[in-house]
């Protein structure tokens, strides 16, 4: 395998500057063609909503950046049509090992159960994910207008309209949109234009991150070291990626000079000590600090922040890219429903409720992991060392060792769109669980049956129930229906005889032991924030 070949997507003069017909107002303008902006455009296109995507560059991300894609993210990517490709190319893993010094303290298995289409984690460089998303976006030529080298230089927003100023090689122009989605990353220009405070915390720590090319058959595991002999007193992380690329993160301390540390003559000896060999090549190096910040609100009239522009976390835990894709999942169907007139604009404020919960969960987990990894005082260091020392022998101490609590989907239970249910096996607010099924003699997956709208998902022997605009999916015992639970996983995960109302983002909106059309409609209306 060779290294990744960066291709330029190229600049095409926009209609506004080339005399072609251009609408006076667009429904959605997306700023940023990273994984979040591209996934956002595809999610909207799948729902029939057109968008213009603006990016100041015309190439995928340089360096691997976000590499760990969690199960829920892979399920969302699958819904968007790129999941299988990402899994096929990526390195699948679920085992993590934690070392203290040269001693293995413990290992963990992130997906101990069978019967899921998607694995616990796939490692794949962000540039591949972006490439696949660009290629997928191009399958919607009528709905997704990708404009590379179109740099946003100004944003003006009123209560019900947004105007963006854009600069290109051919000059500047303005776009007017119903909604502007800021997917422009941690240093968001849109956020700066709106003058919004990005409150939070900077951790006084620096990490070196490097992609190296190396022919080696290291296992597909996440390996984390506290105070290894090869990197005295600090932490180290090793991840495997496709194309014989490995990711190494090395803690440097706050006093390290990023410019000096980035130089190959300083990076190479450090990595040689990690690997105990020198037959590798450096592909990409960066030095970074940890930050945990978020906007107070993500929805500002018609400007909505998605991904890193709304919240940033420190990287251990894979909660940046995965958190952003969950934002997309949450916002896509809501914005589509509002634009189609199926839901009031109030539905969009539930994106704030639901994704601020997710962001806070990610920030809390990420901050705790960072505090464990980078003790700030002698006392914190002693506490950390003794936990690690006890962890070899004592399960309770193992549980306290924190090298990053890896991204798990956020539960939306208890938030206003969900209808509480005492009977639910899978609580309203939970993302749907996958399960293997059989349909017409073929093996299929439960999540792939759900479609893009609301669905009623019913298990076992119940009379069919018809509700307008809601798809009906019945999972039966073997030999009893079109869609059969031949392994028992689906019945176990959802409960025999239960019926669920599923939101378009594959989350449970309501659960019924004895469903009736009126209760289902009421739950659906509630999930759409209808008055």
């Amino acid at each position: 395998m060779g290294r990744y070949q960066y291709q330029h997507f190229g600049y095409v003069p926009p209609p506004e500057l080339s005399g072609r017909a251009a609408p006076s107002r667009y429904p959605v303008v997306i700023v940023g063609a990273g994984p979040i902006g591209l996934a956002m455009a595809i999610d909207l296109a799948v729902r029939g909503i057109a968008s213009v995507v603006l990016d100041d560059n015309d190439v995928v991300s340089v360096g691997s950046r976000a590499i760990c894609w969690a199960k829920r993210t892979l399920e969302i990517f699958d819904r968007l049509g790129v999941g299988e490709r990402i899994v096929a190319k990526g390195v699948t893993w679920k085992i993590g090992r934690v070392f203290h010094g040269d001693r293995e303290v413990y290992d963990f298995d992130l997906l101990p159960e069978d019967g899921h289409k998607m694995p616990a984690f796939v490692n794949l460089q962000q540039y591949y994910v972006e490439q696949y998303l660009v290629e997928r976006a191009r399958e919607f030529p009528d709905l997704i207008d990708l404009r590379f080298k179109n740099k946003v230089i100004g944003v003006r927003h009123l209560v019900d309209v947004v105007t963006v100023s854009v600069e290109t090689l051919d000059g500047s122009y303005q776009l007017t949109a119903d909604y502007l989605l800021a997917c422009d990353g941690a240093k968001s220009l849109v956020r700066a234009e709106l003058g919004l405070e990005f409150a939070g915390k900077l951790f006084e720590e620096r990490f070196l991150i490097a992609d190296i090319e190396l022919k080696a058959d290291f296992p597909s595991e996440r390996r984390f070291w506290f105070e290894p002999t090869f990197h005295a007193g600090q932490s180290a992380l090793l991840h495997k990626q496709p194309d014989d690329i490995y990711r190494i993160d090395l803690q440097l301390g706050w006093d390290a000079d990023p410019e000096v540390e980035r130089q190959p003559e300083n990076v190479l000896p450090r990595i040689e000590r990690v690997l105990g060999r020198s037959d590798f090549e450096l592909d990409w190096v960066s030095v970074y600090t940890f930050q945990c910040r978020r906007l107070e609100r993500f929805v500002h009239d018609r400007v909505i922040f998605v991904g890193d522009s709304a919240h940033v976390v420190s990287p251990f835990g894979a909660r940046g890219g995965n958190g952003g894709i969950q934002d997309v999942d949450n916002l896509g169907w809501k914005l589509a429903a509002v634009l189609k007139g199926h839901a009031p604009e109030a539905l969009l404020s539930s994106y704030d409720d639901e994704r601020i919960r997710g962001a806070d969960e990610n920030i809390a987990n990420s901050s705790r992991a960072t505090n464990f990894m980078t003790p700030k005082s002698a006392m914190e260091k002693i506490l950390r060392d003794e936990v690690l020392d006890l962890a070899g022998e004592m399960p309770f101490a193992r549980r306290l060792v924190n090298s990053g609590r890896l991204s798990v989907p956020c539960s939306l239970a208890g938030l206003p769109l969900q209808t509480p249910s005492a009977d639910a096996v899978l609580e309203p607010g939970s993302p749907c669980k996958d399960a293997p099924l059989r349909k017409d003699g073929e093996d299929v997956w439960l999540l792939n049956q759900l479609g893009d709208g609301f669905a009623l998902l019913s298990f076992g022997s119940r009379p069919r129930i018809e509700v307008t605009d809601i798809a009906y999916i019945h999972v039966a015992r073997p030999e009893e229906g079109d869609l059969q639970d031949v392994t028992g996983h689906a019945f176990e995960r959802y409960g025999d005889g239960m019926t669920y109302l599923i939101r378009p983002d594959q989350h449970v909106a309501a659960a019924f032991r004895i469903p009736d059309a009126a209760a289902i409609c009421a739950a659906r209306d509630r999930a759409l924030a209808r008055p």
Binding site: S367, A378, L383, P395, F396
Partner: protein, 67 residues
């Protein structure tokens, strides 16, 4: 009776406890941190209220210095 010191009883609360333990030490001098830890030991000992369990914990804690 065997004293089970190892089993995890905090579950997901463990991370929260760890964070709060860091928090109470914040800004304390090393000596005050040591005092705080002793007070915590005394309070927890009384909370446990079982001499056999406390003896087992003392022995386990001391192993570190006898290796």
């Amino acid at each position: 009776m065997m004293i089970d010191l190892g089993s995890d009883r905090l579950g997901p609360s463990g991370d929260l406890f760890y964070a709060e333990l860091l928090q109470v030490h914040e800004g304390l001098s090393p000596e005050d941190s040591a005092r705080l830890n002793v007070r915590m030991v005394l309070l927890l000992a009384n909370q446990i209220g079982n001499l056999d369990a406390l003896r087992a914990a003392l022995a386990k804690a001391k192993e570190r210095f006898e290796r």
